[in-house]
Amino acid sequence: MDDHQRPDPDELLARVTEQEAKRRRGRLKIFFGAAAGVGKTYTMLDTAHLRKAEGVDVVIGYVEPHPRPETLARLEGLEAVPPRTVEYKGTQLREFDLDAALARRPTLLLVDELAHTNAPGSRHPKRWQDVEELLAAGINVYTTVNVQHIESFKDVIAQITGVAVQETVPDSIIEGADEVELIDLAPEDLIKRLKEGKIYQPQQVEGALRSFFRTGNLLALRELALRNTAARVDVQMQEYRRDHDIQKTWHVGETLLVCISPSPLSSRLVRATKRMATSLHADWMAVYVETAHRLRPADRTRIEETLRLVEQLGGSTMTLNGSQVSEEVLRFAHERNVSKIIVGKPAHPRWRDLLFGSMLDDLMRKSGDIDVYVITGEPDNPRPFNAQMPRRTSSWSAYGQSVLIMVVCTLAAALMFQFFAPVNLIMIYLVGVVLTASRCGRGPSVLASILSVAAFDFFFVHPQLTFAVADTQYILTFAIMLLVALTISTLTVQIKQQAETAREREKRTASLYAMSRDLANTRETEALIGLAAKHMREVFNSEITILLPNSAGNLKPGVGELPLPDLQEETVARWVFDHNHLAGLHTDTLPASKGLYLPLTASQSVIGVLAVNPKKPERFISVDQIHLLETFANQTALALERASLALDAAQAQIQVETERTRNTLLSSVSHDLRTPLAVITGATSSLLQRDKTLSDEDRRELAQVAYEESERLNQFVGNLLDMTRLESGGLHVEKEWQLIEEVVGAAINRFNGENKGQVIHVTIPPDFPLVQFDGGLIEQVIINLLENAFKYTPQNTLQNTPQNTPHITPIDISAREGIHEVIVEVADRGMGILAGDEERIFDKFYRSQPSNSKGVGLGLAICRGIIQMHGGRIWVENRPDGGAAFRFTLPMTEKPPGIEEEDDPDA
């Protein structure tokens, strides 16, 4: 029976995600009945009272004010959301207030009459859409529906009752409901209630009995309702079984394909397909083949509406391009592994089939292993839908042109008449016909065909200049010529129109490609927005604004974009963003808006809103246009997401770098703090020894070393602090007009006695100008450079020269003026810089000879940081005579201020 198989992990995941989503969603319970008056609202209210007694927060959203006393009585005791009044054509309508209900946010909300159409100006055109929003917000809902309101039953109901139901609810809503309770009442009982006045007002009873409330009707409706409920139970049972013994029923699924045409029959076909798909648990889709024929606007609208109906009912749509409908459909069907094709029965007369070929025939013969279902239609419109005669009006000038061409042909033929047999002249006319067909269109080419025959007959066939024909063979010639001419003209026109359609499509694809390519090359969000908007503006001939949430979460247009026209539109945009669902012009939600709004959905969530304000709103009715727009929106959303992810990645990279630096710092600090501390601890603990093992000399020595190490520690801590402030941006540069000479002097002064006899030569030209810089910071720079010089310069003692004479190696500090800058140099006579180290030496923690150095390698990095903050440069060069010269620049952008000359009587 059922074979136990391991569940498919993807399927399980999908189911778990589905269950998750379901949990967050509100639960929908539908009180379902066969007809009005069976007691749905009454039962709903009853159940609500039970829930309230259990402690559930129950609120009435909207209950139709039937004049049914029993129902009215049940309203007592329940809180209600006050309805809103809508002014419509002079009357006051009371409608369900969705926003108030959302604000109130009860646990359970009662909303009567799911199929009701809302008054114009409401957020959604239909109440079931309001309920969808409530469920999405997590509010549980009880509602009522009659079987006649179910979309896919529309035609069946029409057949049974003779009444065409206008207000319908998509099947998906009913199927998706968590609970459906059938309120069943036998027809006799229902009629009895009607007569007792418990359903309608007394004056309406008569009419009701005669039309809707006939026993036959009620029986049929009851059966429909029962069957629907049974089918639902069956589905639930299957699901249960599936959860507990995994059964692979879904993978053997069928796929149904229905062919749509401009005929009004199509919507019936769609609904029938939906019913079939439901019972077969199959996927289904609808296809429309666009041929070269032009459609009348009414036909086009009908196609769009049918396509939208398909999507509403849960199917997918596809529009194909081609000349032969059957060929395109079959190719598509084979591609998608369609198992059944549904078409409507032909409504046009037989002769058309003979003349132009029957699409149905073609389809049936070439379908191979695909089943073809042909469904009845009621031709309320005798117009044939597979018309081979396209409606196209050509202008008068086109007709004129065709006549002109024929005249030219006649003249040419006349010229050739002397040399050629008349039969050959037909060719010239045929050329003329081809010319006309390719340039002028359908009508004129038919005219040209006829004219060519007539002209040929009139001018070139015996007896000439009459329409009479001497040789009856020419009749055949005429007939064939006309036939050929007509065929050529038809084909040429067809080709031309197909080429045009293809070009149209190609243009759109090309524009999508162009935008994708441009977006792929762009990184910054602002540029992306600009590009996307530019492309879409061109393609859709509309005003485009891309809205992105700012840091506060408010939607704002991108830089350089126009803001939305008014607050209303902003609200629509906000709604779209929050609900990830398109809204606006020609959609199901807020259709009264000025523009069309699409959510920009990236892989994870909604990242923005695309606002489209078309210059020609009519164009946007087509589902095709909206699909194309959605494709563009998707591309844009993905590009934006990519840009933001790139930014995130860059920041993550920075994080990693920071971590790494921090770790280096920690390890360095640890070592460089411990070492001097070790010395200090050692030395001072020795000093603390009470015994007399240490001499005064020793004590002095220990104290000295402890002091020196503590100085070193001080310097190290100072460097660390400076570096930290530099990196975290805590260093503030306070520029003042300073004298280089003064700062150098101050720096040297700091080494008071500690430079162990190093000689420093300072060369600064007199009257060196004032330069703007932060005195304390630049002093620090010079101190660090001097420290560096001291470290790597041999002591001012004996150098190894042949004469063995003491050789003083001074440190040279100098300054000179450059172009808009001053250059300061601190140079030593040490070992110089190793080639390749010139840049790295300024890096943090870099020591050129780790074993030799006593510092931690931050000094030069700090110098670089400070100089850079001043807008200068710092670098090192090796001196020609040996040693390193560190140079830095400080910019001089302004003239230094002068001072007033003072009166000096003795000068």
């Binding site: 300073q738 000479e741 003064e742 002097g745 101050a746 300072v762 600064i764 304390g776 009587p905 003795d906």
Partner: protein
């Protein structure tokens, strides 16, 4: 207000410092150098001690827990001229200058050494003794001799001409010898209150002084610059 002439053998120093280890080291150092030390651990107590004990010098840490050191300085200067030596942490340059402008006499940046500390204390006490007057009319530092009575300046016994402002600058520094004088103080003193932001004036003139008086103006021996704070004439070697 009374200024005590310190004829006592042991000048009294009030230390207002909350950190016990610094107090410990200062205690040892100062007492072994012949000073009597009074300790206070908070600003409020410090202020109280000043009026109660009348110390000869106050050492004030700017980083006190209960009161802002600057507020203590301000309050003290409202009624006493006792020399105040402020201890400031590294990187808190602004506080140092503010304290000096509010009336503190000198500063020390932590960590500091004993020599520097003792030198500053000596200077502070000396100025106290000398009150406002400069005792001798001849001031000598290094190879420079200044005759304050006759307004002559000699470098290596050669007379050097100073402009009026340069001379005024020099004499102001002499008056505050060995103590730091803030930029603001100098500008106000010499050029007037409206010039107290025109630091370039000061720099240029100090530069001119150094060029005229110092052997190597780029490595001055007595006209010392304290960047960010002001200048100090170092006469006490």
């Amino acid at each position: 207000m009374t200024q005590t002439h310190s004829t006592k053998p042991n000048p009294v120093i009030l230390l207002i410092e909350d950190d016990s280890q610094i107090r410990r080291f200062l205690r040892t150092t100062l007492t072994s150098n012949g000073y009597t030390l009074i300790e206070s651990t908070s600003g409020q107590d410090g202020l109280h001690q000043v009026s109660a004990q009348r110390p000869d010098l106050i050492i004030l840490d700017l980083g006190l827990p209960d009161m802002d050191g600057l507020a203590v300085t301000e309050q003290l200067r409202a009624w006493t001229g006792t020399p105040i030596l402020v201890l400031s942490a590294r990187d808190k340059e602004g506080d140092k200058v503010k304290a000096l402008d509010l009336g503190a006499d000198d500063y020390l940046t932590k960590p500091f050494g004993t020599e520097e500390l003792l030198a500053r204390i000596r200077v502070g006490l000396r100025h106290l003794q000398q009150a406002i007057h400069i005792e001798t009319p001849i001031f000598t530092v290094e190879n420079v001799r200044v005759d304050l009575e006759h307004r002559h300046v000699f470098v290596d016994d050669q007379e050097v001409h100073l402009t009026p402002i340069e001379y005024k600058l020099l004499t102001t520094l002499i008056r505050f010898a060995d103590r730091v004088v803030t930029q603001r103080q100098l500008l106000k003193e010499i050029w007037g209150p409206s010039y107290d932001e025109e630091t370039h004036y000061l720099r240029i003139y100090m530069g001119q002084l150094r060029h005229k008086l110092e052997a190597d103006p780029a490595q001055p021996r007595f006209l010392i610059t304290e960047p960010g704070v002001g200048y100090r004439l170092k006469a006490d070697s």
